[in-house]
Amino acid sequence: DVKVTQSSRYLVKRTGEKVFLECVQDMDHENMFWYRQDPGLGLRLIYFSYDVKMKEKGDIPEGYSVSREKKERFSLILESASTNQTSMYLCASQLLGGSYNEQFFGPGTRLTVL
C-alpha cells in the first residue's frame, strides 16, 4: 500500500513565524503535490514537483515555497505565516507517466496561525 505521511496532524503557529510542513511518501513516486483545503473552496493546488529539485507553481503559490531535496520528501514552507494561511494542508503523490493514475493523499495538517 502506498503510504503518504505528513509531519503533523495539528499545528499552531504565530503570525510571522516560519513554518515547515513535511510530506514523505514510500512508493518511489516521482510526482508530489501540496494543496490547501478551505470550506466551500475545495482543494487548491499550491505547488507541485515532478522530480528532485524541481518545482512548479500551482494556482495559489503566493506566500509559500517548497523544497524537494530527496525523491520521497516534499516540504511546504511558509516564510512568514499569516492568519489567512490558517487552513488544512494536504500532500499527495502520484506515479510519473500517470496519465490515468490516481493521487495518494496524506492525512492532512490542520494549521492555525494566531
Binding site: G42, G58, M88, A92, S99, Y100, F105
Partner: protein
C-alpha cells in the same frame, strides 16, 4: 482555478437509499476522478473514468461521463452509514495536475 463543480453541496439520505452526486466542468478533459474524504482526513481515490468512456462500475459505485455536456455523476447504491463523507470530483486536462471541485457532503442516516 476550479474546474469541477459538484451538485448538490450537501445531501442527506436514509441508509439503504441510493445517493447521486453530479459534477460539471468547463474545459476538455483527459480523465475525471472521484475521491472521498472522511471528516478531517485525507482524500481517498474511488474511481477514474477516461474521456473515451461513458460508464464505469466499481462495487456499489457507478460513474457516468458525458463529455458533450461536460458533466459526470457518481451513484452510490444501497448506501451505508459508513459512506458518510465528502465526495470530490477531479479533472485532468492537458496539464498533469488535477483540478478539484468544492465537494458534496453526503450524510447517510441510520
Amino acid at each position: 482555478s476550479q474546474q469541477g463543480e459538484e451538485d448538490p453541496q450537501a445531501l442527506s439520505i436514509q441508509e439503504g437509499e441510493n445517493a447521486t452526486m453530479n459534477c460539471s466542468y468547463k474545459t476538455s478533459i483527459n480523465n475525471l476522478q472521484w475521491y472521498r474524504q472522511n471528516s478531517g482526513r485525507g482524500l481517498v481515490h474511488l474511481i477514474l473514468i477516461r474521456s473515451n468512456e461513458r460508464e464505469k462500475h466499481s462495487g456499489r459505485l457507478r460513474v457516468t461521463l458525458d463529455t458533450s455536456k461536460k458533466s459526470s455523476s457518481l451513484l452510490i447504491t444501497a448506501s451505508r452509514a459508513a459512506d458518510t463523507a465528502s465526495y470530490f470530483c477531479a479533472t485532468r486536462g492537458s496539464a498533469r495536475q488535477l483540478t478539484f471541485g468544492s465537494g458534496t457532503q453526503l450524510t447517510v442516516l441510520p
